[in-house]
C-alpha cells in the first residue's frame, strides 16, 4: 500500500511539474543567464578554458563575429567584442606559443563584457570606463608579446650555429657569449612577419574602435 | 620499478606489504611509524574506510641514508586486504620491487592466507612477474595472541602452507607489539637492494 501511495505521489508530481523548463547543467553561472545573447559566447569561452584547439577557437571566433553583427548598435559592447577577436585569433594561431596571459585576457575582457551587458543601472560613462580598462590590459599584453618576441629572437640568434645573412630589421643586440648573432632565416623571420601582421590588424581594429567611439559621443 | 637518479645520487624502491584482510599489514607500518617517527621524519599516509580498514593503500616513505654513495629511499605500501578490493591491490602492486607477505596466524584464517598468496601470484602475473622473480619475505603475524590462548597455526603449518616452494625468509612476528617487525622490514630492504644491484650491474 505504501508503495502504491509513493508511486502515486511521484506520478502526480511528474504530472504537475513536467512542463518546467529543463534543468540546465550548472556551468559556472550559465544557469542564471536565461536566454541572453551572450550565452553562447560564454559557453564557447568555457570550452576554450578546458581545451584549446582549432575547433574550440574557431567556435569562439565565429560566435564573436556573429555577435559583432548583432550588437552593431551598441558601441560599448562592440568595443569589448572587438578586443576579444584579435586575442582569440592570436591564441588560435600561436596555440602553445602564445603569451601565457592571453587566455587570462580573454576571460577578463569577457567578464567585464558580461558585467556591462547584464547590468540594468550602469551608466554609459561607467561602461566606457570598464571598456577603457580592458583596452589598457589589451595594450599591455600587446607590448608584452612584442617584447617577448624580441627576447626570443635574441635567443634564437644566440642558438643559431651558422651565421646567415641578416633578414629584416634586427636592432643592435647585446653580444652573447659564444654564439652567432645572425638570425636563422627560416624560424624568426616568419615569426616576425606574423607578429607584424597581427599588430597591424590590431591597430587597425583599435583605430576603428576609437573612431566609432569619438563619433558616438 | 626502482628509480636510480645519478644526478641526485638517489635510489627509490617500492616495497609492498600484502596479505589477507586484517592480517596486520597496516599495523606493521603503523608500528614502524610510531617507533621511528623522529628518525624517519615523514608522515604516514593512510586511506581508510570509515571502519578503519585500508581502502586504497597506506604509504610510509623511509630514508635509510647513504649506502655506497647513494641515498636510499624506500617507499613502503600496504594493500587493502579485503577480497573485494582486488583491482586496487593490483594497482598498488604496480612497480613493486619487494614484497612482504603478512600471514595471519589465527587458525580460522588458514584458508585466507593461502588464497591471498595465490592472489598475489595472480596479480604479479598481470605484470609478467612471478613470486620467484620478486624479493619476498614471509611474516607470520599475531604470534602474541598465543599467550591469550587463541588458537594459532603452528609455524610449521604456516611454512608448509605458504613456503614449501618459495623457500623465502620467514619471521614469526607481532606487529602489534613489535617483535620482528623491524627485522622483517630490514630483511626485505636488504633483499630488494641486493636484487636491484644485480639488475643494474
Amino acid at each position: 500500500m505504501r508503495n502504491d501511495f509513493k508511486s502515486q505521489v511521484e506520478s502526480r508530481l511528474d504530472d504537475l511539474f513536467h512542463d518546467e523548463e529543463e534543468i540546465v547543467k550548472p556551468t559556472e553561472g550559465l544557469g542564471g543567464f536565461g536566454d541572453h545573447p551572450l550565452k553562447t559566447l560564454k559557453a564557447r569561452l568555457l570550452s576554450v578554458e578546458w581545451e584549446i584547439n582549432d575547433s574550440s577557437m574557431e567556435g569562439l571566433i565565429n560566435e564573436l563575429k556573429s555577435l559583432e553583427g548583432f550588437y552593431q548598435g551598441d558601441k560599448v559592447i562592440l568595443g569589448f567584442l572587438r578586443l576579444l577577436r584579435p586575442v582569440a585569433r592570436y591564441i588560435k594561431v600561436r596555440k602553445g606559443k602564445s603569451h601565457p596571459k592571453a587566455t587570462g585576457l580573454l576571460n577578463s575582457v569577457y567578464n567585464s563584457l558580461e558585467r556591462v551587458a547584464v547590468s540594468k543601472n550602469m551608466s554609459r560613462k561607467e561602461k566606457e570606463k570598464i571598456l577603457l580598462q580592458e583596452m589598457e590590459k589589451f595594450k599591455k599584453l600587446k607590448e608584452d608579446v612584442i617584447r617577448r618576441r624580441e627576447e626570443k629572437k635574441e635567443v634564437v640568434e644566440d642558438a643559431a650555429a651558422a651565421p646567415q645573412p641578416k633578414s629584416g630589421a634586427a636592432p643592435a643586440q647585446e653580444p652573447a657569449p659564444d654564439s652567432a648573432t645572425k638570425p636563422s632565416q627560416g624560424v624568426s623571420a616568419s615569426a616576425v612577419e606574423e607578429i607584424k601582421e597581427l599588430i597591424r590588424e590590431e591597430f587597425r581594429a583599435l583605430r576603428e574602435e576609437v573612431r566609432h567611439w569619438r563619433d558616438s559621443r | 620499478m626502482a628509480i636510480v637518479n645519478l644526478k641526485k645520487g638517489e635510489v627509490q624502491a617500492k616495497i609492498v606489504y600484502y596479505g589477507p584482510g586484517r592480517g596486520g599489514k597496516t599495523t606493521n607500518l603503523e608500528y614502524l611509524y610510531r617507533k621511528f617517527h623522529d628518525r624517519i621524519k615523514t608522515e604516514m599516509v593512510t586511506i581508510k574506510t570509515h571502519g578503519d580498514r585500508t581502502l586504497f593503500f597506506d604509504f610510509l616513505p623511509i630514508e635509510i641514508g647513504k649506502i655506497k654513495g647513494f641515498d636510499i629511499r624506500i617507499q613502503l605500501y600496504t594493500v587493502p586486504g579485503q577480497v573485494k578490493y582486488d583491482a586496487t591491490r593490483r594497482l598498488v602492486l604496480r612497480g613493486a620491487d619487494g614484497i612482504v607477505f603478512v600471514a595471519d596466524s589465527l587458525v580460522i584464517r588458514r584458508k585466507e592466507n593461502v588464497l591471498s598468496l595465490k592472489n598475489l601470484a595472480d596479480n604479479l602475473a598481470t605484470y609478467r612477474k612471478s613470486l620467484v622473480d620478486v624479493p619476498i619475505v614471509l611474516q607470520y603475524n599475531k604470534r602474541d595472541l598465543e599467550e591469550e590462548g587463541i588458537p594459532l597455526l603452528s609455524l610449521a603449518t604456516l611454512e608448509k602452507d605458504l613456503n614449501t616452494q618459495l623457500k623465502a625468509p620467514s619471521f614469526a612476528a607481532s606487529a602489534q607489539e613489535g617483535p620482528n617487525v623491524v627485522k622483517t622490514m630490514k630483511k626485505i630492504i636488504v633483499m630488494t637492494m641486493d636484487s636491484l644491484r644485480r639488475d643494474l650491474m
Partner: protein, 130 residues
C-alpha cells in the same frame, strides 16, 4: 624493469619542466612513474616529504582512474584534472610508465596548460627512452 637516469637526462628534463611549465606560472610540477617514484620535480620549495606522498597518491589516483576507464569500455580518459579554490592539479600520461603532474593556480587557464604539457611531454619522451 628498473630505470637509471644519468645527470644529463635529469638535467634535460628539469630544464624542460622549468622553461615550459614553471616559467608559465605553474607552482609545482613532477615527473613520476606509475609506481609513485619521483624522477624529477620543480617547485616552489615545499618540504620534501609532501611531494613523496603526493607522488604516491597521484600514481594511485591515476591508476585507479585508468582502471575505471577500461571498466567502462574506454581505452583511457583524455583529461584528469581536479579544480580547487586556489590550486588545481592536472595529470598527464607521458608514456605508459610515467606521469606528469602539474599544480597551478588561478592565473593559468587549464586549456593553455594542457597545450604546454603536451609540448613538454613531446620533449621529455625521447629523453626517457634514451
Amino acid at each position: 624493469m628498473n630505470y637509471v637516469f644519468n645527470r644529463e637526462q635529469i638535467t634535460a628534463i628539469e630544464d624542460i619542466l622549468e622553461r615550459d611549465l614553471m616559467d608559465l606560472g605553474v607552482h609545482s610540477v613532477f615527473l613520476i612513474d606509475m609506481a609513485g617514484n619521483i624522477i624529477a620535480n620543480k617547485g616552489t620549495g615545499e618540504d620534501q616529504h609532501d611531494i613523496y606522498s603526493l607522488a604516491a597518491l597521484a600514481a594511485g589516483n591515476f591508476g585507479a582512474v585508468s582502471t575505471m576507464a577500461k571498466l567502462i569500455g574506454e581505452e583511457e580518459f583524455s583529461l584528469l584534472f581536479h579544480r580547487g579554490q586556489k590550486e588545481s592539479i592536472h595529470f598527464s600520461k607521458v608514456t605508459n610508465d610515467f606521469l606528469l603532474i602539474s599544480i597551478f593556480g588561478k592565473a593559468l587557464s587549464l586549456g593553455f596548460l594542457r597545450l604546454k604539457v603536451a609540448e613538454a611531454t613531446d620533449k621529455i619522451v625521447p629523453i626517457l627512452g634514451s
